[in-house]
Amino acid sequence: MTTTSLNQLSGKERFSRWVNARRKWIFAAPAMIFTAILIGFPIGWTLYLSVTDAKGSVRSPADFIGFENYLDVLTDVDRFWPAALRTGVFTFGALAVELIAGMCIALLLWRPFKAQKWVRVAILLPFVATPVAIAMMWRLIFDPNIGFANRLLGWVGIPPQPWFSEPATTLPTLMFVDIWEFTPMIAIILLAGLTSLSDEPDEAARIDGANAWQRFWFVTLPLLRPVVLVAVLLRSIDALKTFDLLYVVKGQGGGSFHEAETLNIYVYGLSFKYNDFGTASAVLIIFFLMILFVMWLLTFRRKGAKL
């Protein structure tokens, strides 16, 4: 009787010990499984589609064709490589300007001044509006015939500019809109970083006779580096997957000459307009690898910087 109860107790104890040791795994398991399915299934399915010739309908039978899609995509100099190039130009061009402008704004707002609260709210406005609405607004402003931008130029005697209506000016104009929208985000992140810095290194440099530029370049910026990297990481991921702005302004195929066709727009067209799911999946996998590579570069540089 006693033995059995002891045995039971020890069995319970053993079980509870086992549970206790793996507590964090057991409780996290449902969420982890859920997330794994949610991330794993789409990637797995895309990988599967990318090695088939799925076309028309995903449910219609598709044949396994190995890496043919990848080969087709990587040798496609008509659409794929120009789109990849545009994705890079758009992302890193806009990002560079946003970083510099964001830093300038953050430095301006750093030291307390009157109406600081209001200014902070005001610069945040472009960032909190819906991208689709913003895209439609800028499309109207830059309309070649009735747009406000050209009328404004007319008042100061400058001839109308093509903005969105010529292939050469489309991407820069789109980058301008992106910069307008997302500079505030960078500014806010950097401002948060600046306000958390301690004043002492700056004061020490001041006593040593460093001027404002030297103090910024050799003291503030190095201290701010982790925050800058976070901003770059967040923003570059976001910019790489820009879709709404480009699609609303230029539509299917990125305009008549594919002048605004980034990889995202290209994939959308491949899958939803051409119903070419095999090729679209291959492009997505390649795009995914490209993003992983860029992120690896960024984080790798960060580790290197710490050394």
Partner: protein
């Protein structure tokens, strides 16, 4: 310590519950209706037809005892929506409004449509034989009827009576006269374009089709080979491009579809506008147009091969093959396309595909007289399609549309036509 771990347990349990909740929500989302549900899901495009029918749906609900849920989308969103839902085998679309020319072949091949051949033939008074044969051909896939045509349209020349009068011009009847009239209007009126038309590569294809046919060209020959590199096609490309490049709006964009072009015309900033006849409300109605009382209508002008505008079934109603509610879906389609309803809708200005309505004076009374006459002429000369009839219509439109924008921007459209010819041939070969 004890308190902390208890809190953690509660938090984790909540997280687990939440994720389980999300999972069940996901799994129940795709569930279908039980056979013959009282709720009917109808997906419609933004169109004048839809505006009229949605006002009358309560009558149908009363009559049938069904509840109709309308999901209304723009043309592009509509197709994307179908592609996502039908690809996933979803049953929450019962009745679908679709464009037979754009997706008929693709959806037919993918098995998205329910076969309604028996339903239309057994419908008695509803009278399937009353539908025009061209449109019916477009809603038939491999000898099975898959849709009921609702709206027809053909290519119409809209013009400004006052501007023509001011410049002493006659209404153009040939391509040369049209070019000359556009030129004169542009020269006589500062800041007004001679003509405005679609300029976005794939959107322009449908309106370009009338020019292609009237210059004697086609998309492909009887053997399925691309013919858009032919001399006739090159002439048509060059003509369409010259009209817009020389006599279009000052700042010509390559992004215009019909809403942009219609807006320019309705603002009084162009002498001519060529687009679908069914869009006339947009430039005639006083709410939308500054020049509504000055708009004239004339049949498509003659080219070297005569006047050959497109005349097509623009929209049709079909039933989702995966729908669990097909009998009720058919009830709705039968009601919405009945002779009485068709007459009522046509009286609101939507051209229908029923012969009887066009023979009935009541059916044409609501149209401006000139428009009804021009539709009639276009209908007689018309060609039954306005784009390449392939599975990959979207891709084909981008390919054959490229020379149009090349010509509009003043580029070498002959070379672009040759390049497009090669690509289009590849597309045709890949579908063989």
């Amino acid at each position: 310590m004890k308190f902390g771990s208890a809190k953690r347990v509660v938090a984790l349990a909540a997280a687990a519950l939440l994720s389980a909740g999300v999972l069940t929500a996901c799994s129940s989302g795709g569930g279908g209706d039980d056979g013959g549900s009282k709720t009917l899901n109808v997906t419609l495009a933004n169109h004048v037809w839809t505006d009229v029918i949605t006002k009358k749906i309560s009558e149908f609900e009363k009559e049938s005892g069904l509840k109709v849920v309308v999901n209304q989308l723009s043309e592009d969103q509509l197709v994307d929506n179908y592609k996502v839902k039908l690809n996933a085998g979803s049953s929450d679309v019962d009745v679908m409004m679709y464009r037979p020319l754009q997706v008929g072949k693709l959806f037919g091949q993918s098995g998205y449509f329910a076969d309604i051949t028996d339903k239309v033939n057994d419908a008695g008074d509803w009278n399937w034989d009353d539908f025009q044969s061209g449109p019916v051909g477009l809603t038939t896939y491999e000898d099975k009827v898959v849709g009921v045509p609702m709206i027809t349209e053909n290519e119409m020349v809209y013009y400004r009576k006052d501007l023509l009068e001011k410049s002493g011009l006659e209404v153009p009847t040939t391509m040369d006269e049209l070019m000359n009239a556009a030129k004169t209007i542009k020269e006589d009126n500062d800041g007004v374009a001679g003509i405005v038309m679609r300029s976005q590569a794939s959107a322009a294809v449908t309106q370009f089709s009338g020019f292609l046919y009237s210059f004697g060209g086609t998309w492909e020959d009887d053997d399925g080979n691309s013919t858009i590199g032919s001399d006739e096609a090159k002439e048509a490309y060059a003509y369409y491009g010259k009209l817009l490049h020389d006599y279009g709006p000052d700042q010509i964009s390559t992004d215009m579809s019909w809403p942009e072009a219609a807006a320019i015309f309705a603002q009084g900033n162009a002498g001519f506008w060529i687009d679908a006849s069914s869009l006339y409300e947009n430039v005639v109605s006083p709410d939308k147009s500054k020049i509504g009382d000055q708009v004239g209508f004339t049949p498509f002008p003659e080219g070297p091969a005569g006047s050959k505008p497109y005349n097509v079934a623009a929209w049709a109603l079909g039933i989702n093959a995966a729908s669990q509610n097909q009998d009720n879906a058919w009830k709705f389609i039968k009601w919405a396309t009945s002779p009485e309803m068709t007459l009522a809708i046509q009286q609101e200005g939507v051209p229908s595909a029923r012969t009887s309505v066009w023979e009935n004076p009541e059916g044409t009374s609501s149209f401006p007289e000139e428009l009804a006459k021009a539709i009639n002429v276009n209908g007689k000369n018309g060609v039954g399609n306005d784009r390449p009839l392939v599975v990959g219509v979207a891709e084909a439109r981008e390919i054959v549309g490229a020379p149009i924008v090349e010509a509009i921007t003043g580029g070498d459209s002959d070379a672009a036509a040759d390049a497009a010819n090669k690509k289009f041939q590849e597309l045709l070969d890949s579908e063989k």
